[in-house]
């Protein structure tokens, strides 16, 4: 049984998540609340834990329909990148972000994240 499929989904206005095992997570909507970490940190940590327990080599995160995030929400992706960097080579996996190149925040943020963790992050810009 996929641990990723068992991760509890967060409840946040204007934001939704779909998890499609074995390794696809779709984030949709906007994240604009003042402290998104209070609602979403545990969820992102759960995704990371599940990816490790499922021994996935890659997790695909589709953010093409996540049209806006505030700066505090970018921190959620930074945290996920940091957790990945802290894994040993045998347990590590790749985070593949599917982005929309027309959406500015995705273009700027993920390209910088990739430079900070080039071995952990792959960007598919459409």
């Amino acid at each position: 049984m996929s641990k990723l499929a068992e991760v509890g989904l967060p409840t946040l206005e204007n934001f939704s998540v779909q998890i499609k095992p074995p390794a696809l997570v779709q984030l949709l909507g906007v994240i604009a609340i003042a402290e998104p970490g209070r609602v979403l940190s545990a969820f992102f940590a759960g995704l990371h834990r599940a990816a490790c327990e499922d021994r996935l080599r890659e997790v695909s995160v589709d953010v093409r329909h996540l049209t806006f995030v505030n700066s505090s929400a970018i921190r959620l992706f930074v945290d996920w990148t940091t957790w990945l960097r802290n894994l040993g080579p045998s347990e590590s996996y790749t985070l593949r972000f599917r982005t929309d190149r027309r959406i500015t925040w995705q273009r700027t943020s993920f390209s910088v994240l990739q430079t900070l963790a080039p071995n952990a992050i792959v960007i598919d810009a459409e």
């Binding site: 003042a34 806006f68 700066s71 970018i74 921190r75 960097r85 500015t104 430079t115 900070l116």
Partner: protein, 168 residues
Amino acid sequence: MPQAGPFEHGQNPLPLAQREARTLVRVAWENSENAEYFYGFVSGYAKAVFSFGAAERVILASQELLENALKYSLMMKEITYELSTTMTDICVVVRNATISSRIEMLRAHLARIQENPERTYTSELERSMSPSGRRAMLGLARICHEANMVLRAAVDGANLSISASCRR
């Protein structure tokens, strides 16, 4: 006449030629508790009024400036938001009262951003990855680097006004 720097003294950073500026939205909150729900309105309004690219910029600047005001405003002091345009430009201004140390920190941060928006953005993201615990100051860097807007600030006593402007 010398070029105005990013930080000025006075009530308004005046990024737009005042005579021709048209105020589209002006909102004042008597305290920070009920300002959080503004994002949905600004987002819908900007998408209805501006092109996709301009709307993205207005939404980002509005969100980040307002969030900063909510975080750093003195309790029970008014916060105002204004969105205005001319034939050629768009401007978002947020005003709030804050403490002098915040103003000094902002002065230094704005100088770094104006010098190199991309580098500041990257270094703030890096900072948020480090375990130092110091909170990253990504919002203003995003406005400059991501939205390609010009930031200006003005101080009048404890009142701080920050504007973000760009071509339409």
